[in-house]
Amino acid sequence: MSQEVYEVTIWARGVFQDMEGRHATLLMANAADLGGKFVQAWDDYADLPDRVGVPLRKYVRLADEEIEMRFVYVNNNPSLVVLMDDTIVKGMNILRGMPQGGSLVVNTKRTPDEILAFIPNKELLANIVCVDASGLAADTAIDFMGSEGGVEVAAVGAGISAPLVGAAAKVCDRFTIENVVKVASNKSAAQAGFDAAQVKAL
């Protein structure tokens, strides 16, 4: 029997969103940790070294007890998928392995229906959240110093990760928006993401 672990996969574009993607995982994991969850957050090892524009996966795992299988390369069954860039819907089967009733959060200026048009297996979703995180954020953070297992030197959640994770809190009950705001460096952007999120239940 395997332990119940809530898996989150965050998709980002290489180099120009690598750091933002990592920040999203750290924000989410730290917020969940604050809420008493056991957490794990890491970059996909085989997607690194990342290249400009390549679709990248970042992972979060949340559980109510100590996570047993710490050494895994990928999240195979994400219940929550977050896209830092909306065009990824065309290129990847982003819902691959998702258990029925999952959630999708997309950084986009478009509507949920426009995005859903590109998702053939949308019946897996319980809901979809669209938020213009790029518009709500001050800037996109780019730096290499936290990659390859280095320590993140920049303030986590200063850019688009804050509103995006804020929006995710609207559909994910494993962490709260209060805790996301607590850990994000741009607190108002995190709250703004939560407030501006368009949720469509399916």
Binding site: G14, V15, P49, R51, V52, G53, V54, F144, E148
Partner: protein, 325 residues
Amino acid sequence: MAIEVKTQNLEMVKSLRQVPQEEHYVPGHRTCQGCGPALVYKLVSKATGGNAIFLGPTGCMYVANTSYLCAPFAYPWMHTQITNGGAVASGIEAAYQVLIRKGKYKGELPSIVVMAGDGGSIDIGLQAMSSMMYRGHDALFVMYDNESYANTGIQVSPATPYGANTTFTPPGKNVPEGRVLFPKDAPQLVIGGHPAVHYVATASVAYPVDLINKVRKGLNYKGPSFVHLHAPCPKGWLFPAQKTIEVAKLAIQTGMWVNYTWENGEYTYDHTPKEYKPVKEYMKGQYRFNHLSDAHYAKMQAFIDARLKAPGKPIAIPVLGPREQ
């Protein structure tokens, strides 16, 4: 009786129309959007015409090109260690010499090309490169220069310019400029001290016809040649992917890069601007130089001004060593 070893004679191209449409470095590789080194690979592959064997020392152009059992090379290609590109190429060239001589391989000697990055050429790979040049193997050593160890996450190499922020030379309170040293001069390393070498050239992705012709000229020489190719790196230098060619051109307009040929002792210069722009214009478009002050730009300008007096030639450039600063 020993069979004579015949080599290829590749024709020069005069315009883009004469560049073959056929690709030998095919689409389907995991290099960055706008990757300068990938463009180098495409152009050098085109220049060979396909009757070639390529060696890929570890680096971006190994890892990104051949990620996960896919490789984009329509010709024989082999991975080598980052240390030994020149040596493996030597072994392959020697093998072909003897196999052709003995009649075991029928045909002209294929073009043998080492595609090494700056680290695989003039840092950890220097010994193997120099020895291949020295021994006189009929092979071409291409140094695609993206001025860092890009594959491992942008670490400093001997080709990294002064003032660059890399993940091993981050700017900080005690080291405000990040990278404090000035780069090694790769072509001079080859020109100075390898009697078997007759052809050394520098080229840039900004001038592809020139690049193709220089590669062909190097391949046509019976013996070793060295081509140093400027290949801007959108990831490592951090500029928008569409600006790769723009950045490469600006490098030439500011004197940060000079295209020239050294052939049997004679230097000729190509694409020299009438008047050089300040280096700051080149540097300010790249995130890796974002932290620099005007004093740092001035220091770089002084270095470039001195080097431009005789590009590619061994002249004394007033640069303080790290212990003198």
